[in-house]
Structure formats: structure tokens, C-alpha cells
Amino acid sequence: MKDSLVLKNITKRFADVLALESVCFTLRRGEIHALLGENGAGKTTLMNILYGLVRPDSGEISVRGENCWMHSPLDALAQGIGMVHQHFMLVPTMTVAENIILGQEPTKGPYLLYNEAERLIEQVSEEFGLEVQPNRQVWQLSVGEQQRIEIIKILYRNADILILDEPTAVLTPPEVISLFKTLKSLTDIGKSVVFITHKLSEVMAISDRVTVLRKGRVQGTVISCESNEKELAHLMVGRDVVFSTSSHENMSGDIVASIQQLSANGDHGKLALADIDLDLRAGEIVGVAGVDGNGQGELAQVLAGLRKKLSGNIYIKEQEIVDTNPATQISHGVAYVPSDRKALGVALDLSLLTNSVLKNHNIEPYSRRGILQHSTIRKFTEGLVNDYDIRCPSVEGSVHTLSGGNLQKLILAREISSAPSLLIVEQPTRGLDVGATETIRNLLLEQRDQGAAILLISTDLDEVLTLSNRVVVMYEGSIVYESSSKVFNRDEIGLAMAGFKTTHKEQVVE
């Protein structure tokens, strides 16, 4: 096989940090090559160099045997390199066809040849077996369809090297399968794919070879089918990783929280939660699976008192809470780890000291008769920092000096320090590296074993399946699937996430 792309000894330094050190990377024609690494390992920097967004300090790039430099994405496109970003670059109010031709419109003089454009798109779509309706508006499409548009956009520009940055992060399981099929068919006709990810299972499922990056250095390039997840994890993290898994044993106790017929509006004034019924028991983790934006966030917000309910009842420890607001929920022992840590979980400009007592600054012993007890607060914060291994320059320093994993540890530590009866965690490990993910998940399991009821909301289906004792699926504001069995049916859950009605809704086995 011919090498379609070779990166040789790429080095890039940002200020005093070495982002990439002598990185070598070879992409063969017709292969899917996974680029695996934790956050901050240098994956994105490497691809940005390839795509002409960042200039390396030294090294060589050659495409199809010819040395070349990318000064901008235009150069990259001219060399046949196209990128699908994690966040799509589409104009929602324009049609599919308009989005695809944007920047490379077929014209005759001053006129846009719209019919010609549609013909070209249909040609591309037929050639690669990617179904597309050119006249639909992008905002009407599902996330998976939008991603397909991004891929067609690249193919329309005649790219034969495709870079996909964490493409599965936003997809449902059936959409992932369909994406993988598309990628396979593309490589069959000679296109090459770089697949950036930090998920080991995907590497095993899709890639021919895998290059592992850690701290800016290549740890090795291996043939995927000759390796295994354990070896890759070891290469990626530099040590063995052990995820405790949930036993799935039903050791749950009394009902801690009971939600009945709960409805609420979303931010846009439309119904976002419709008649939710859910019981949460002490000592169990209930996982809420679903594609982002199907009401999971609103459910968490209503329970945390941040969103008003339209109708329905919420009982915490058999006591009905009529007027929900954050203060009453906190006093009833509801703790909440929000998905948007930086916007909601902390005040970034303020110190660790200030942020660590966000929920309990107004109760003893952190304050007495309206006076803050600074020495108690300091002891408490230092305790959290030590117990949960939160790496920070100092407790007086502002929270934005913390890395993502340490910030999440701080928030989770704060929330569990009050020994909550109900702990709501939303996307607890999103964007975290393997090490931090391991810590956070183990802390959640520890809380469960100590008798907390945990509502785990995550778009990462693997996470939900690994940690939960019970799984529910939310789709368009309703619970469409509920399972209590010891073995989760991944296919059924996947279908439910995509909105397909499953024939039976399993009842909770008492």
C-alpha cells in the first residue's frame, strides 16, 4: 500500500509547554487510522497542524510523496485533506445543498447554478452511497444526518484524506454503526481516514491501525486487531487502568426521591419534560441514557430547584416539596453536579475557598450568625483538596487555574461532602481524561455504597451501562424505556435512544 500522508518529526511548543515532540505519523492509502490519546495529549494540535491551522516549529509533512506545507485550511483542501470538526460548521437556516457548496459554488458569471449544484451533490451522494436530501434545511436534520452533510461537504471538495475529530461523541448507537459503515465504504474505494478518539472500544471496532499519543509523544503505532483494549489503555495512560464496575445487584433500599407526573418547560417555552414518573432508591444508581437535549438536563434542573415545574409532584424522603428552589432542595439533601461545570458549578474568578462552601456558606460551622468562619472554611477546603487529590497552586488561587479533571473533582467533592440523600450527576466525566474519569466513577460508586440515591445523566452510553443498577432512556421529554434486569439489552436501549418504540416497557421488579 502507498502512504498517502506522512508526518515526520513534528515538534510544536506553546510558550514553555512542549505540545508535540518529534511526532511521526503515517497514513496509508485506504486505511482507517485511529489517533488515540487523552485530553491534552496533542491529538488536536497535530491535526490542526495538518489542517493548516497551527504552524509547527519543525518537522516535515508530505502528501502522496510530495513535501508540502499547509498555511491555511485552503491549502489543506487543495491537497485533498478535509476535516469534520467536533462541532459542526453548518449554517442551520440554509439548505443542505447550500451548505455543501458554500465556498465552492458552481457559477456561470454572476449566476449561481443551483440545479448544477444539486446534480453534483446527488452524484457525490450516489457515488459514495450517502443518502441526502439537498432541499431540506439543516436545522431540521438530526445530529447524525448533519454529520453526514459534513462528510459529503468534504467529498464534494474531492478530498481523499478525511480527518474526523471525536465523531461519535454526539451520536446514538445506531448512528455510530451507520457512520462506521460509511467510513468502511469510503476506505474501500481508496479514501483514507484519520479517526481521532479517546474511546478504546471504537478504536477496536473501526480502525486498521492505531497511533497512541501521550503528552505530545507517540507511544507506538500498532495494528488494531493484533492489540487489545488493555494494551492500548496502558499505552495511553502509562499505567494499568482499573474501572470498578457496578455489580448490577439490587441492593437498593428505601425510596429517597419520588417523581410523579412531572412536566416542565424548556428554555424556549416548549414542553421539555412530559409526565415523568421515577423512583430513586437509596444505594442505587439510576442511569438516564439518551441523546443530548431530550429533557435530561431539564429533569436535573427541576430536581435541583433551578427550573420551575409545570405540574406533577416531587417527594424527597416522603415529604412533598411544593415550592422548589435551590435553597430548599439543598436543605432537603439534594446535591447536583451540573454538566456545565464552568458556567454553573463554580464562579471561576473566585478562590477555591469561596467555591468550596458555595452550598453551605450560610450554615454552621461555616458561618455563625451571619459571620463567615474563615478558619473553618480553610480547614474544610484543605480537607477536600487533600482527600480528593485536587491539584491546585493554592486554595486562595482562583478556580480557573484548575484543569478540567481537578475542577470536576472539586465540584463532586463539594457536593458529596454534605452526605446528600439524592445526588444528581450530569455528564460527570465529559471531557475528562482517563485518570480523572476513573477517580470520578469510583467516587460515585462509593457514594452509592454509602447509601446515596444517584441519578446519573450521561450521553455516554457505556458510562451509563457500566455504572447503573437501573437504566431509563429519555426521548423527547419522556421516559420511553425502563430496565431493571441484571443484563442490559444494549440494542434495545440504543433503539429507544433513537426514538424507536420498543414493544415492551419492562416493569421494575420488586
Binding site: 506553546f14 510558550a15 514553555d16 509547554v17 491534552g40 435541583a304 433551578l306 428552589n325 435551590p326 435553597a327 432542595q329 439543598i330 447536583y336 451540573p338 458556567a343 454553573l344 458549578g345 463554580v346 464562579a347 471561576l348 474568578d349 473566585l350 469561596t354 458555595l358 452550598k359 456558606h361 450560610n362 458561618s367 451571619g370 459571620i371 463567615l372 474563615h374 491539584r391 491546585c392 497552586p393 480557573h400 487555574t401 484548575l402 484543569s403 481537578n406
Partner: protein, 358 residues
């Protein structure tokens, strides 16, 4: 070596260094303008400092000016920390003055130990209530407090005009002002032979009180958190609406107190031009003072010294007073600009530190 570099970075990016730098740059710009007008900048600044602090009387005058600027600036600093933009301190000063004048005009001969606290309290309450109108409109209707408070200034000043030329007018005078307020509400002179009255003591006590409140109380914590991230504050169980209203009440109250202190300590009657824009200058002072009570104290002294010293400078060097206004403007410009600069430095140093830790 690295520790040294970090220490140096800490020093030159510390807020105090930046504020001093901003003031220094403003004076440098002023010096350039003075030189343009043909005078010697060194002479001009020398007479400026002389005029502000050169004699007992000059110091007293500077402190007389400091009093309303400090009181108003303190309240605005608290509001700014909660990210409430009260541009209406000017009007709140007038309303506070009306409150104090009412006590001094209509409650007869009251003893000092009741009269002074009563007048100050009246000033505080009337100023706070006046400001609360904007606060309530913001909470209930989402009205922008900047516009509302600004507009309310004109209403407050016109109410004052109406009172001093109509119902409260001193019948024995031709000019529009009220009769002298009762002796019982007049603040004593604390340096004989000068105009310096006990208002400055009230202002200094207020500084210490607010410093303590912001640093050591749950109220201060909640105000700061509301300003730093209202969503996080709400999530932490803080009633941010209540905090916004409180910030409005506190800033209006202290502006009102400034008005009351001007009536009781300086003018002894309600009159036109009671505040030559103290309410606006105080915004600059609150910003220069980094929204911290002790910073506001220093900034208020600086601005008062500039205004008082400018007279002396104009007399002996012919440099127009307008130069001082320009310097005030430059200080504000540099302070606001330096915030941006510091933010940039913070992000670069933040990235560095983050990576060091990872």
C-alpha cells in the same frame, strides 16, 4: 530562577501594581498636555500637590471633598461587586440631602445626639428607597438599571429645584435655597478654622464597616458571588434577585448618606448645585479602587486632592483646571484598559500553570 520569574510576574500582574501604573500613565499624559500648553509639568504638579496637601487648610479642603466622594464611592463599589450598575448616585445624593434637610427644617430644635443620627438615617433611607425603584423595576420587569438610574437623576434634581424654589424656599432670601437647618443636625467642625466637619469620620467608619461586611459576612459573600457568577450563586441557593435589590439599596443608601453629610456638615441648607457631579466621579473612584472599600478610600483621596489642588495650579502656573479633568478621564481610561490587559496576562499565565500541573 523560575520562582523569581513567577514572583516578578505576580508582582507586575497584581491589581495594585496595575492601578498605580494606570494612575502614573494618566499623570504622564497630563504632563504632556501641560507641556503643550507651554508650562512646566514639574512646576504644575508641584503646585498641584501643594494646593491639595500643602497646608492645614488645604488638607482640610481635600478631606472636605473626600467625604462625599468616599461615601458615594463605597456604595457604588458594593453595587459593582454584585455587578449592579448604579449610575444614579448623583440623584440619590440629592434625595439623601432632601431627607436630611427635612429633618433639619421641620422637626424643630432637636438635641444633637438625636438630630445628627436622625438626619444621617433619613439621608440613607431616602437615598436607598430612591435607588430601590430602579432595583424593583429591574427585578419585576427586567428594566435596564443603567438607563433607569440615569433618568432618575434628572427627576431627583428637578424635585430639589422644585422644593428650594417653591414650598421649602427660604422666605427671607431671594436666591433659591432653604433656610438654615436646625443646629441639632449640624455636624461639628473637627479642625477649627477650617471647613472640615465630622462627615469625614462617618465616611472612614463606613469604609471600615463595609470592608468588614464584604470580607467577613455571609451577606458580603453572597453579594460577591452574585456578581462573579449569578448562575452559580443561584445554584448555590442564593436568592440573586434579593442580592441585586440589596446592592441597589446599599449603594443608594450610601449616596444618600453623602448628601445628608453635605447638608449637615457643609452647606447647612438645601441648595442648587449641592453635588457638582460627585455621583459620576464616584463611579470612577469605585473602579479605580478595584471595588474594594480600602481602595475606594485611596482613590477618593486622590480625586479630591486633584480637584482641590487644581485651583492652586491654575493660580500660580496658569495651567487650566481642565487639565485635571483630563487627568481624571485618563485615569479612568487606563484603569478600564488595564483590566483588559490583566485579563490577557491572566489567561496566558493560567495556561502556563495549568500545563505545569497536568
Amino acid at each position: 530562577m523560575k520562582i523569581l520569574m513567577i514572583t516578578i510576574r505576580r508582582i507586575y500582574t497584581s491589581p495594585i501594581t496595575i492601578q498605580i501604573g494606570a494612575v502614573f500613565l494618566a499623570f504622564l499624559g497630563g504632563a504632556f498636555l501641560i507641556a503643550l500648553s507651554g508650562a512646566s509639568p514639574i512646576d504644575a504638579y508641584q503646585t498641584l500637590v501643594q494646593g491639595a496637601f500643602g497646608s492645614k487648610n488645604n488638607i482640610a479642603e481635600t478631606l472636605v471633598k473626600t467625604t462625599p466622594l468616599l461615601l458615594t464611592g463605597l456604595g457604588l463599589a458594593v453595587a459593582l461587586r454584585a455587578r449592579v450598575f448604579n449610575i444614579g448616585a448623583e440623584g440619590q445624593i440629592y434625595m439623601g440631602a432632601i431627607g436630611a434637610a427635612f429633618v433639619g427644617l421641620f422637626l424643630g430644635d432637636i438635641p444633637t445626639f438625636i438630630g445628627i443620627p436622625l438626619a444621617m438615617l433619613a439621608g440613607f433611607i431616602v437615598g436607598a428607597l430612591w435607588a430601590s425603584i430602579a432595583g424593583i423595576l429591574k427585578l419585576k420587569l427586567g428594566a435596564n438599571e443603567i438607563i433607569v438610574t440615569l433618568m432618575m437623576n434628572y427627576i431627583a434634581i428637578e424635585i430639589t429645584h422644585y422644593l428650594i424654589s417653591g414650598p421649602w424656599k427660604d422666605p427671607t432670601a431671594t436666591e433659591p435655597f432653604t433656610a438654615e437647618v436646625a443646629k441639632g443636625i449640624q455636624l461639628p467642625i473637627i479642625i477649627p478654622g477650617t471647613r472640615l466637619h465630622a462627615g469625614i469620620i462617618i465616611a472612614v467608619i463606613a469604609t471600615i464597616l463595609l470592608w468588614w461586611v464584604m470580607r467577613y459576612t455571609v451577606l458580603g459573600y453572597q453579594l460577591v458571588l452574585t456578581g462573579a457568577n449569578p448562575n452559580a450563586a443561584e445554584y448555590g441557593g442564593i436568592n440573586t434577585g434579593r442580592m441585586i435589590l440589596l446592592a441597589m439599596l446599599i449603594s443608594g443608601g450610601f449616596a444618600g448618606l453623602a448628601g445628608a453629610s453635605e447638608i449637615s456638615g457643609l452647606h447647612h441648607r438645601l441648595l442648587e448645585g449641592l453635588s457638582p457631579g460627585y455621583g459620576y466621579t464616584a463611579i470612577a473612584i469605585a473602579l479605580l479602587g478595584k471595588e474594594k472599600p480600602l481602595g475606594v478610600l485611596v482613590a477618593a483621596l486622590l480625586f479630591a486632592g486633584l480637584v482641590v489642588g487644581a485651583d492652586g495650579m491654575q493660580r500660580s502656573t496658569g495651567v487650566p483646571i481642565a487639565v485635571v479633568l483630563l487627568i481624571e478621564g485618563l485615569v479612568l481610561l487606563f484603569v478600564v484598559g488595564s483590566d483588559r490587559l490583566r485579563l490577557n496576562w491572566q489567561t496566558t499565565s493560567k495556561d502556563g500553570e495549568e500545563n505545569e500541573l497536568d
